[in-house]
């Protein structure tokens, strides 16, 4: 079930209404049933996978806690949980990719291998809930939390529908704790949750889906485009994926808030990042913090030699790329981000010397803007590999982007022939402007919704109605799946 589908607009109010009407002791059961229904709307059979992962991690949590000081036993149980969960993930997501790679490897040394391809449908959100469940195992193993004894509560933690299929990847320390608390109907909280959902729909439907029209047109026939057409498509893809994924996260956060739960922030104005490392502190925070806590740090993090640190960075980003999808383009995208970080760190002393030599005021806004633009440029280059179907296509798109012989397009309205007409382009620009204002305010630590609620009714409703109108005007081009569902 998509958040931007009619089904969800019927499902959600029913879930909320029933949730607050029924006795408190059966509310979690209701949410669990609703969450499984939400998941089964996509494919009923695959709810078994969700249940399997839940049972494995639930039992492993209890066994690890019971193990007490028996470290080896604990390790075996935790490893078992990891192997089983990652095994499920591997089978459903990576097996065909690995077999294909194997075939290519053997092909490279002239050994013909008949590699079978399995007809496997990738379960929606599998990477999200498996990572969430594994984080619980690790937290119990590290004794950061107690194992959850109540199976219903734990099952709800893994399957909580607002964040089930596209995150944020919640931590047990945050969400599991909240599931044992009593929730009352709180007018202000519900109002804030609904406004967050409205903002999420704006990001998804007005910005992401509108950008998608142009991006799909250009990427669908990239060989026919070059220069400004590809540059525009690449820039808009950066905003498409941002609007799409952040939109989902905000709707998830809002929906959870209506029910009384607080989900973690998944984005923090990523395109205001001044370095790629900074970008990863702001983009998909729940995944990057997961990888930091459960992969980068256990590998040794930055505590050992520089060489080991760079290896750890590279391994972490390769894993991040692979997490996003079973394709060499995602692996390359991850590797590119890892390299950006390593090169960025290696160049830091040189940049400092440059600033000192030329008396560059690094606190200056223009210097900051330059760094933001540089980071956006690097990230956007990497997005090409994320979006393109093959590495060859990505390289061709990149090469053709630098062929700027079609400057005439900027003067003769040629950019309106890429799927978005003048009206839609104007709506997109307006929406981006609104997003920019919102981002600047958020960057200055302003709680936008709270500030808005303090304004007078005329201003407040002008903003609400503007957003509602823009969403309404986007209803005809929306309905696309969220990009991150595939991960």
């Amino acid at each position: 079930m998509l958040f931007n589908s009619m089904g969800f607009l019927i499902f959600f109010p029913i879930v909320v209404l029933v949730y607050f009407i029924i006795p408190r002791r059966i509310r979690n059961l209701w949410l669990l049933a609703a969450s499984y229904y939400f998941y089964m709307c996509w494919n009923a059979k695959y709810a078994l996978l969700l249940l399997t992962s839940t049972v494995i991690t639930y039992l492993s949590g209890i066994l690890i806690e019971r193990a007490g000081e028996r470290t080896v036993y604990k390790k075996w149980v935790a490893a078992g949980s990891f192997v089983l969960n990652l095994g499920i993930l591997f089978w459903y997501k990576y097996v065909n990719f690995m077999l294909e790679l194997l075939g290519q490897l053997f092909g490279a040394v002239h050994i013909e291998l008949q590699v079978p391809a399995f007809d496997i449908l990738l379960p929606v959100g599998i990477s999200f809930y498996i990572f969430q469940a594994l984080s619980y195992t690790m937290d119990v193993y590290r004794r950061e939390i107690y194992a959850e004894k109540n199976f219903l509560r734990y099952a709800l933690f893994v399957s909580f529908f607002p964040q089930l299929v596209a995150g944020p990847i919640e931590r047990s320390k945050n969400l599991l704790k909240q599931l044992s608390e009593e929730k009352k109907f709180d007018y202000d909280r519900v109002r804030e949750g609904l406004l967050l959902m409205l903002w999420g729909y704006f990001l998804k439907m007005v910005i992401a889906d509108r950008c998608a029209v142009l991006v799909n047109t250009v990427y669908g026939d990239y060989a026919s485009y070059h220069g400004f057409q590809l540059i525009l498509a690449n820039v808009l893809f950066a905003f498409q994926i941002y609007g799409d994924f952040m939109g989902y996260s905000v709707i998830a956060k809002g929906a959870a808030k209506v029910l009384g739960y607080e989900l973690m922030e998944n984005f923090s104005q990523p395109y205001f990042a001044e370095t790629v490392r900074d970008f990863w502190r702001r983009w998909h925070i729940s995944l990057s913090s997961w990888l930091r806590d459960y992969l980068y740090i256990p590998l040794g993090g930055s505590r050992k030699t520089k060489g080991i640190k760079y290896r750890n960075v590279l391994v972490t980003f390769l894993a991040s790329g692979l997490w996003h999808g079973a394709s060499i383009t995602f692996v390359f995208w991850g590797a590119l981000h890892g390299l950006y970080q390593i090169i960025g760190e290696l160049m830091e002393p040189a940049v400092s010397r440059f600033c000192q030599s030329f008396h560059v005021n690094t606190g200056n806004i223009s210097w900051k803007c330059l760094r933001i633009l540089k980071t956006f440029f690097l990230v956007d280059i990497a997005w090409i590999f994320f979006r393109a179907d093959t590495l060859t296509a990505a390289v061709q798109i990149l090469r053709q982007s630098f062929d700027l012989s079609n400057t005439g397009l900027l003067l003769n309205n040629g950019l309106y022939e890429l799927g978005l007409n003048e009206r839609n382009m104007s709506i997109l620009l307006l929406a981006m402007l609104i997003l920019a204002v919102y981002s600047v305010l958020k960057e200055r630590k302003v709680n936008v919704i709270e500030q808005l609620s303090r304004q007078n009714a005329v201003f407040r409703y002008a903003v609400y109605w503007g957003i509602v109108l823009l969403i309404t005007f986007s209803l005809d081009i929306t309905g696309q799946e969220f990009i991150y569902f595939q991960f």
Binding site: R191, L194, V468, D476
Partner: protein, 436 residues
């Protein structure tokens, strides 16, 4: 409880723009719907309203039929109930509704292009969009499509699409609403319906434009999809049960289209099988027409429609009788004459009808009457704009004589005693094109 009510009220306030647009969409479809919809809405209104006069001949089919059959040429008791994009599926329900509110006609002409015996291309975007049928009928269509697993109806999200259309939800209508400039299509759509009424269901927007493209093409296969065959048979069965004569006509294609023997054999086989079950039906295949009779690869223009309708009248004179042209029919024909773009076609338009042409070639004024017995009569007409035209008594006008250049024509509709149009033509070899 108080807080819940407060929240509900605030939600409604926040959503006010959406609700206002939604209300406009629901309450005033003619204000924004696209150009096909007024035809559908006219058809719905006409079919479902009580009988005010008896129609003994009805036309069913798709846009090809709609463009081809000209009720004003066929008879005063003919109505064209076909609609663009419709397949036998929708036509079955049109006839069902018609028979509920009207006396059964004597004859039903049915014509479909081959594509509409294979797939639905407009069920969602026209039939559902314009709310042509009732909810129960739509559900029946969907249920039947589910039985036959018809992919052109059972689209990816057909259940939610069904709800969206049924409830006029903005996701299906906002594009039209915005393209209409926020409800600015009302006058245009009402005018379209006025023309539908004048021409008894035949669209006239296609006009007299002529088809210029078209590579040579040979149709190799005639195939009828099971769902459409099922409805086709049900449609014919309904006609037969109600004592309606069924005339199936395969309409002409432009001359660049040919048919392989295999196609012809399949076509004949299909209709022979049909005639085994319904021996009463007649099946005719009208030969190809010249491209100038078409507006595009499939649809006849007004001149082609005149030609086809005249041929049908000759083919089945018993269906149409010999009643003189009514003033209503003349109004509709006059409307088509006003759009004529070739001078030589005027003679076909007025032939056998009480119209008078006055032709001014710069030196003389000639007259010609559509009725032979009026030719050569000396009359003086005072036209609405005050211009006086004298008809010369001895002028025997022939088109071939006008080889010298520009000439002007005034067309008079004697049924309604009015000037139809004034046109200037430019003589080019054998044709007379409308002067720029």
């Amino acid at each position: 409880m108080k807080n819940i009510v407060k929240l509900g009220v605030k939600c409604i306030c926040v959503m006010f723009p959406l609700l206002a647009i939604y209300a406009c969409m629901w309450l005033n479809p003619l204000g924004y719907m696209d150009e096909e919809s007024p035809h559908y809405l006219w058809n719905k209104e006409k079919v479902n309203s009580e009988e005010t006069c008896y129609y003994d001949t009805i036309i069913l089919g798709d846009s090809m039929a709609n463009a081809a059959y000209m009720p004003e040429v066929l008879s005063d008791t003919t109505i064209n109930l076909s609609l663009g994009g419709m397949t036998p599926v929708e036509n079955y329900y049109v006839l069902q509704d018609w028979l509920t509110t009207h006396t059964a006609p004597e004859v039903c002409y049915i014509s479909f292009q081959d594509a509409h015996m294979i797939m639905e291309d407009c069920f969602w975007t026209r039939t559902m969009y314009a709310h042509r049928f009732t909810r129960a009928q739509n559900l029946e269509i969907l249920r039947t499509a589910e039985i036959f697993r018809e992919p052109t109806i059972l689209t990816d999200h057909y259940k939610t699409d069904f709800i969206s259309y049924e409830l006029f939800l903005p996701n299906k209508y906002i594009a039209s609403f915005m393209n209409s400039g926020f409800n600015q299509r009302y006058d245009r759509n009402v005018e379209t319906q006025r023309m539908d009424e004048l021409h008894r269901g035949r669209y006239v927007a296609r006009g007299a434009d002529e088809f210029e493209g078209g590579k040579k093409a040979a149709l190799e296969e005639f195939y009828v999809n099971p769902l459409f065959e099922d409805y086709y048979r049900r449609l014919i069965a309904m006609c037969v049960e109600n004592g309606i004569k069924v005339r199936i006509v395969k309409l002409p294609h432009p001359e660049n289209v040919s048919f392989t023997e295999e196609y012809t054999a399949q076509f004949n086989e299909f209709y022979e099988n049909l005639r085994k079950d319904y021996p009463e039906i007649t099946v005719d295949w009208i030969a190809s027409y010249d491209r100038k009779c078409f507006v595009d690869a499939n649809h006849l223009n007004s001149y082609g429609s005149l030609r086809l309708s005249s041929e049908i009248r000759e083919l089945y004179p018993e269906d149409f009788g010999s009643a003189p042209l009514s003033r209503g029919q003349a109004e509709a024909i006059s409307d088509s004459i006003a759009g004529v773009k070739r001078g030589e076609q005027l003679a076909d338009w007025i032939y056998g009808r009480d119209y008078t042409l006055f032709i001014n070639d710069g030196s003389k004024i000639y007259s010609v009457s559509g009725l032979n017995n009026r030719r050569g009569e000396q009359e003086v007409f005072e036209l609405e704009n005050g211009l006086k035209v004298w008809q010369e008594p001895s002028a025997a006008w022939k088109w071939e004589e006008h080889v010298l250049g520009d000439f002007s024509v005034v067309v008079i509709d004697n049924y309604n005693q009015r000037e139809v149009c004034q046109k200037s033509f430019w003589q080019e070899k054998e044709t007379c094109r409308l002067a720029e």
